[in-house]
């Protein structure tokens, strides 16, 4: 079955430190992978995507994500966290059997402390 796993419900990091939010996936074929962010009482905003090419993808707000095919992972990273990065982050993969659909993970809450 196709799925996305975000193993951490919450990640805590001090401002200025690097952050990583983990995501692993299970799909057949080549994955199309996405990260979205949700601020309180808001909809989801697109951060970045991987379709093909360079394994390191750069996105909005200084975020980047690394695609690792052998580990079936797509971890979100940022070199220096900001308090304003505190939000809920969702990883998603395109459904192989219906390519117009996304399969979402359960989300990871990032808390950045001053």
């Amino acid at each position: 079955a196709q799925s996305v796993a975000q193993p951490e419900d919450q990640v805590n990091v001090a401002e200025g430190n690097p952050l990583t939010v983990k995501c692993t996936y299970s799909v057949s074929g080549n994955p199309y992978l996405f990260w979205y962010v949700q601020y309180p009482n808001r909809g989801l905003q697109f951060l970045l995507k991987y379709i093909t090419g360079d394994n390191l993808v750069k996105g909005s707000y200084g975020f980047e994500a690394e695609f690792n095919k052998s580990q079936t992972s797509f971890h979100l990273k940022k070199p220096s966290a900001l308090v304003s990065d505190s939000a809920l982050y969702f990883c998603a993969v395109r459904d192989t059997y219906n390519t117009d659909k996304l399969i979402f993970g359960t989300g990871t809450r990032l808390q950045v402390f001053p």
């Binding site: 009482n41 697109f46 995507k49 390519t99 117009d100 659909k101 979402f104």
Partner: protein, 110 residues
């Protein structure tokens, strides 16, 4: 800028009421989606539509229906609201899996 607009940010409805959640997009996208978001469960797809008057069930369609009479508008209908439908509802539009979301409607059924 892509805009997906949901008609209400907050709604409180009574058990048994018929509830309409409206969503409008301005990017001429073929695909539109309704999700519900619950803590610990992430986003679950209720219904989606890939064209006018076309609809497909998602993962949790029970208790819901949808309407897409025009390309830009996708409505979610709760035929008889129940307390277990209290949730955040998110509408999205897009093509080829790249989705753009509305602000969400937080529905409380009392």
């Amino acid at each position: 800028d892509v805009k997906v607009t949901q008609s209400s940010r907050y709604l409180v409805k009574r058990t048994g009421e018929k509830v309409f959640l409206e969503c409008v997009q301005d990017m001429d996208h073929e695909n539109m989606f309704w999700y519900r978001q619950d803590p610990g469960l992430g986003l679950r797809l209720i219904y989606f539509s890939y064209d006018v008057k076309m609809k497909e069930k998602g993962d949790i369609p029970e208790g819901y229906s949808v309407s897409r009479e025009k390309k830009e508008r996708f409505s979610l209908i709760l035929e008889s609201a129940s307390t277990n439908q209290t949730s955040m509802y998110l509408c999205a539009s897009g093509r080829q899996a790249e989705a753009f979301f509305g602000q969400g409607t937080r529905l409380t059924v009392v």
